[in-house]
C-alpha cells in the first residue's frame, strides 16, 4: 500500500515534465507565455511530489530503501534480465528534491529571462525534457536504466548549449560537450559490458554483491570501476575531460545554472557515490587524486578569466573536483552533501549572473561592470551570500559544512591531497571575491553599461531570494544522516576498507576545521584587499606573476593540445582512410573490372561495349570455376552457372526493350 503510494508519486514526478515537453514541443508556439507557465506548473507538481517522497523518507527513518519494480525491459539472452526499476533511498530523495527545486526555480526565472526570444517555447520544452531525463537518471535502480537517463541528459545538454545554434560558437560548444562526454561514456560502456558478462543483471545491489563476492574477475572489476569514473569525469568535467564545460557557457544562462552547475554535471558525482561499494581502493585513489588536482587547476584558471560566466564555470569544475575528492577519500557523506549545497549556491550565483547579464543588456565582461550593487541590490546581496557559501564562511553558510567534511576526510587519508584541497579553498574564496568586487563594488568602469543597468523583474529576483535562503539554512542538515543514507544495503566498509576507518577517526578534527575557516575567510579578505581596497596598485601586484597569469588565462593550453594530438590527427586519419578506400580498396575492385573488360575484348568478341565485355568475363570465370568444380563431382554445376549467365543475358535483353 505504502509502496503503491510511492510508486504513484514517482510516476507523477516523471510524467509531469514529460507531458510538459510533449505539450510544449507540439503546441508551444500557440500557447506562448501560457505554455511557459504551464511548464512551471508541471515542474512544481514534480517538486511537490518529490517533497512528499522526502517526507516519506524522513518519516520512515534510517534504513529507508524502497525498490519499486523491477519491470522487465529486455531479456537479451544467456539468462540475463535487463530491467528498469526505481530505487528510493536517502540519496535518491535528496537528488529528487534538488533537481526538481532548482529546475522549478530556473523555469520561473526563465519566463522573464528568455522573453522575446524567437524560440521561447522550444526552450521550455527542452528544459522539461532535461528535467525528465535527469529524474530518470536519479530514480534508476540499475546501471543500464541510469545510463539511458545519462545519455538523454547529454542530448538535452547538447540541445540547450546549442540553443542559439544559428551562431557558430554555441554550435561548436554543444558538439564539443557531446563528444567529450561521449568519450567518457566509453568507460561506462566497458563497465556495462563487464557487468553484463559476469553479473547478468545491472541492478545496483546485485552488482555490488557480485563485486563483493569476487564474481567479477581481476582486472575487470578495476577496469569497470575506472570506466565508471571515466564516464563520471566526462559528465562532471574533471581533468582531462573538463574542456567542454567552460565552453558550454555559450548556452542561455538559466541552462548554465540548471544543467551545467546544479544538476547534470553533478550526475558524475552521483554516479560515483551510487556505485561506491563496487569501487576498489585503487579506483578511489584515482578518484580522489583527479578530484583534488582538478579542484586546484580549475581554480587557477578561474583566477585569470574575465567573463563572469566563465569564472563561475571554472569554479564549478573546481567544486566538482572537491566532491570527487570527498568521495575518493571516503568522506562519502560530505562529498554528496557538497553536491547538494553546491547545487543551491551555484544555481544562485549563475542565476545571479544571469540577472546581471539581463540587467546589463547582455554584457558578460566583468571589466566593463563595477558598482552594480546600487543598481541591482537584490542580485548583489544574494550573490554575496553565494560567494560566502562557496568560500565556506563558517556556521552561517551551508558551504562550510560540506567543504569542512571533505577536507577533514582528506586530512585523514593523505596530507598531500589535504593541502591541495586547502590551497584550492583559498583560491576559491579569492577569485569569487574578485568576481563579486569587479561586478558589484567599486566605481562603474563602463558608463554606458552602468547607466542602462537595472534590477531584474520579480520572476527573476524571487528565485534568487529563495536560493539564497536555502543556501543559508540547509547547512545544519549535514548532521541529518537519513538524507544521505548509505548508498547500499551492502556493507560499505567492506569496499572502503582502511580508507573509511581512517576518515572516520579524523572526522571533525579541530585543526582541520580551523585551517578550512582560515583558508576561506583568508581568501575572501585577500580578495577584498587586492581588488577593492588596493585596486590602484593591482597592476604592480600582478607584474611578477605575468607569466603565470598568461598560463592561467590560456587555460593551460588544453584546447590547443587536444586539437594538436586528437582532433587534427583524427581528421587527417579520416581523410587518409578515405583515400585508401577510394584508391586501394575500391581501386582493386575497379582494376579487376578493367582487366575483365580487356579480357573480354581480347576474347575476340565483336561487340566491344563495356557491359558485354564484362558479361563475357563473368561467363569465363563461371565456366572456369564450373569446370574446376565439375571435375570434383558432376557436370550439373554448369547447368546452374549457365543459368546465372542466362539471367544476365535476359537482363541485357530487358534493358534494350525498356
Amino acid at each position: 500500500m505504502f509502496d503503491d503510494w510511492l510508486l504513484h508519486l514517482c510516476l507523477i514526478v516523471l510524467a509531469a515534465p514529460l507531458a510538459g515537453f510533449c505539450v510544449q514541443y507540439v503546441w508551444g508556439r500557440r500557447l506562448g507565455a501560457a505554455g511557459a507557465w504551464l511548464t512551471c506548473v508541471t515542474m512544481f507538481l514534480s517538486l511537490a511530489c518529490s517533497v512528499l517522497l522526502g517526507v516519506a523518507a524522513l518519516s520512515a527513518g534510517a534504513g529507508f530503501d524502497v525498490h519499486l519494480g523491477p519491470w522487465s525491459w529486455l531479456e537479451p539472452g544467456d539468462g540475463a534480465a535487463w530491467n528498469i526499476g526505481i530505487r528510493l533511498d536517502g540519496l535518491t530523495v535528496v537528488m529528487l528534491v534538488v533537481v526538481t527545486l532548482v529546475s522549478f526555480l530556473v523555469h520561473v526565472f526563465s519566463t522573464r529571462y528568455m522573453e522575446g526570444d524567437a524560440k521561447y517555447p522550444l526552450f521550455f520544452a527542452w528544459l522539461q525534457m532535461f528535467s525528465f531525463s535527469m529524474l530518470v537518471l536519479v530514480l534508476a535502480d540499475n546501471l543500464l536504466h541510469l545510463f539511458m537517463g545519462w545519455e538523454l541528459v547529454g542530448l538535452c545538454s547538447y540541445k540547450l548549449i546549442g540553443f542559439w545554434s544559428e551562431k557558430p560558437a554555441p554550435c561548436l560548444a554543444a558538439r564539443k560537450a557531446f563528444i567529450t562526454t561521449r568519450i567518457g561514456d566509453l568507460g561506462m560502456m566497458i563497465a556495462l559490458c563487464a557487468i553484463g558478462t559476469w553479473v547478468g543483471s545491472f541492478e545496483f545491489d546485485a552488482v555490488f554483491a557480485a563485486a563483493a563476492a569476487g564474481e567479477i574477475p581481476d582486472p575487470w572489476l578495476l577496469i569497470a570501476g575506472l570506466g565508471l569514473f571515466l564516464a563520471a569525469a566526462g559528465k562532471s568535467a574533471q581533468l582531462p575531460l573538463h574542456v567542454w564545460l567552460p565552453d558550454a557557457m555559450e548556452g542561455p544562462t538559466p541552462v548554465s545554472a540548471l544543467i551545467h552547475a546544479a544538476t547534470m554535471v553533478a550526475a558524475g558525482v552521483y554516479l560515483v557515490g551510487r556505485c561506491a561499494p563496487m569501487l576498489t581502493p585503487d579506483v578511489l585513489v584515482v578518484v580522489a587524486t583527479v578530484g583534488a588536482v582538478t579542484a586546484l587547476v580549475a581554480g587557477l584558471i578561474a583566477l585569470a578569466q574575465n567573463d563572469i560566466k566563465r569564472v563561475l564555470a571554472y569554479s564549478t569544475v573546481s567544486q566538482l573536483g572537491y566532491m570527487f575528492l570527498g568521495l575518493g577519500v571516503g568522506a562519502w557523506h560530505a562529498g554528496l552533501f557538497h553536491l547538494t549545497t553546491h547545487a543551491f549556491f551555484k544555481a544562485l550565483m549563475f542565476l545571479g549572473s544571469g540577472s546581471v547579464i539581463h540587467g546589463c543588456h547582455h554584457e558578460q565582461d566583468m571589466r566593463r561592470m563595477g558598482g552594480l550593487r546600487r543598481k541591482m541590490p537584490i542580485t548583489a546581496w544574494t550573490f554575496l551570500i553565494g560567494v560566502l557559501a562557496i568560500a565556506g564562511v563558517p556556521w552561517i553558510t551551508s558551504g562550510f559544512f560540506s567543504k569542512d567534511g571533505i577536507l577533514s576526510g582528506a586530512y585523514g587519508v593523505s596530507p598531500v591531497l589535504f593541502w591541495i584541497g586547502l590551497g584550492g579553498a583559498v583560491l576559491t574564496a579569492f577569485y569569487m571575491m574578485r568576481l563579486y568586487v569587479l561586478t558589484f563594488e567599486g566605481e562603474p568602469r563602463d558608463a554606458h553599461v552602468h547607466d542602462h543597468a537595472h534590477e531584474s523583474p520579480r520572476a527573476m529576483t524571487v528565485p534568487l531570494l529563495i536560493l539564497a535562503a536555502l543556501t543559508l539554512i540547509i547547512g545544519p542538515l549535514a548532521w541529518h544522516e537519513i538524507l544521505l543514507a548509505p548508498p547500499t544495503s551492502v556493507d560499505p566498509a567492506a569496499a572502503w576498507g582502511t580508507l573509511q576507518t581512517l576518515a572516520q577517526e579524523h572526522h571533525h578534527a579541530g585543526v582541520v576545521m580551523w585551517l578550512a575557516i582560515a583558508a576561506g575567510v583568508g581568501g575572501l579578505a585577500l580578495g577584498w584587499l587586492v581588488f577593492h581596497i588596493r585596486r590602484g596598485s593591482l597592476e604592480a601586484l600582478k607584474r611578477p606573476f605575468a607569466g603565470l597569469e598568461r598560463v592561467f588565462a590560456e587555460k593551460f593550453w588544453f584546447d590547443e593540445l587536444y586539437a594538436a594530438v586528437l582532433l587534427r590527427p583524427a581528421d587527417a586519419l579520416a581523410r587518409g582512410l578515405r583515400r585508401v578506400d577510394e584508391g586501394v580498396v575500391d581501386g582493386l575492385v575497379n582494376a579487376a573490372g578493367r582487366s575483365g573488360v580487356r579480357a573480354g575484348e581480347a576474347s575476340g568478341a565483336h561487340d566491344r561495349r563495356v557491359v558485354d565485355g564484362l558479361v563475357r568475363l563473368v561467363g569465363h570465370v563461371c565456366q572456369g570455376l564450373g569446370g574446376a568444380l565439375s571435375a570434383l563431382q558432376s557436370g550439373r554445376v554448369r547447368l546452374y552457372l549457365s543459368l546465372s549467365v542466362g539471367l544476365l543475358a535476359l537482363a541485357l535483353l530487358l534493358e534494350h526493350l525498356l
Partner: protein, 509 residues
Amino acid sequence: MSMLTTIVFLPLAAMLLCWVAPARLARVINVVACSAVMVLAVVLWIQLDPALSGYQFVQTASWLPGVVSEQGIQYYVGLDGIGLALVLLTAFVSLTAAIASWNVEKQVRGYHMMFLLLLTGMLGVFVALDLFLFYVFWEVMLLPMYFLIGIWGGPRRQYAAIKFFLYTLFGSVLLLAGVILVVLKTGSWSIPEITELAKAAVASGGDGGILGSASLCLAAFIGMFIGFAVKIPSFPFHTWLPDAHVEAPTPISMILAGVLLKMGGYGLIRVAYPFFPQAAVDCGAVISVLSAIAIVYGAFVAMAQTDFKRMIAYSSVSHMGFVTLGLAAGTETAINGAMYMMLAHGTISAMLFMIVGVIYERAHHREIARFGGLAWVMPKYFVFASIAFFASLGLPGGSGFVAEITTFVGAFDGPHRLWAIVSLLGVVITAAYYLRTLQRVYLLETPEVYKDTSAYPDLSVREWVVLAPLALVTIYMGILPATVMDIYKSVVHETLVPLLSAAGSRFGG
C-alpha cells in the same frame, strides 16, 4: 494457397497487373500491393507462435524431383521468428519506399513493375527453405535492382549499376559454389534438413562437419561468407555500396539499405553459420577483426565524406559491422543484438536516405559544405533529421541503442573481447560525424539561396507519411525492445546458440 505463398507472389501478381493497367495507376497498384503485404505480414506476426522455434506455415510442393536426391528440388517455404522479423522489416520499408516513389515520373510503369518484382525476390529469400529456391529468389532480387539503379539513377548510374551487379554476382557465384558443394555432399536441398545434419555432425564429436572434411567445410564456409559479406557489405567488400547508393533514386536507396543489406546477415544466420558451425567458430577471430575494422574504419571514412548520401552509405558499412561482430562472438546476447541491429539499421537507414532525398529533391545537390541553416527554413524536416541522426548514433530511446548495447555486451562476453572493445571507438567517431553533419547542414546561418520558401518548402504530405512511421517504429523499438526481440529470440536460443556453443566448446573450451 498458404499465407507465405500469397505474401511472396502477391507483389508479382501486382506487377503483372501493372503491366496491363494504365501507367498512371502503377503507383497506386504499388502502394496498395505493399499495403496488402504489410497487412499480411502483420497477420503472420499475430499467428506465428513465438514459443515454437521450428518453421511454421510450411508449404511444400514437388518441383524438380530426382535432382541429386530422390526428392530433388522442391518448392519449400516456411517461416520462423527470424524470417518473420525480416519479412516485417521488408514489408514496412517497402511500404514506406513505395509511398516515397509516388512522385517518380520517368517510365512509371517500368519502375513500379521492377519495384514489385524486387519485393517478391526479397520476401522469397526470407521464406525459402529449399536451397535452390533460396538461390533463385536471391538472383531474382538482383535483376530489378540493377535496372532500378541503372535506369532511374543519377548521372553515373550505369557505372554504379554494373558495379553493383557484377560485385553481387561475384558474391553469388561463391554462394552458389558453396550451395552446390553442400547439396552434392549431403544429398539434400532442404535447409532444415541440412541444419539437422550439421547438428548431428557436431554432436557426434567428429570434426568433418556436413561435408565430411574439416578443410572442405572451412573452404565452403569462407566462400559462402564472402558471398554474403559482399551483400552486407563487410569490409573489404563494401565499395560497391557508396556508388550504388549515391546513384540510386531515394526509394531504392531506402530498400537497398533497409532490406537488401540484411540479406547478407540473414544468409549468414540461416545458411552459413548453421551449416558450418565449426568453421564459423574457427573463423571467429578473423571475422571479429574485420567487423571491428568495418565499424571504426567505416566511421572514419564516413567522417571524411563531402557528399551527404555517401556519408550515410559509409555509416551503413560501419553499422552493419555490428551484425558480423555479434555473429562472430557467437553468444546468445550477441546474436540477438546482431539481429536487432539488422532491424534497427533497416528502419533508421531507410529514414536517413529519405532525409537525404528530401533535400536533394529541393537543392539538386548533396554537398554537405554547401548547405547550412536548413533547420530554420524547414523545422519539421529538421525534427525528423534529428531523430534519425541521434537514433543512428545510438542514443537511448532509439532502436540503435538497444542494438549496440546488446551487441557490445554479448560480444564482450564472447571469445574475441578485444575486438568488441576496439569497436566501442566507433561510437565516438559516429557521434562526431553525425553532429558535424547536423551542424553543417541544419544549423548556423542559412545561406540566401535556401531562404526561398517556395523552393524550400517544409515537408510535403508524401514526405510526412514516409518519415513519421519510420520515426515512430525507431522510437518504439528503442523503448519497448522486448516486443520485437521476442519475435526471433527463441529461434536463436534453440537453433543457432546450441550449434555454435557445441562447436565452440569442442574447439577449445
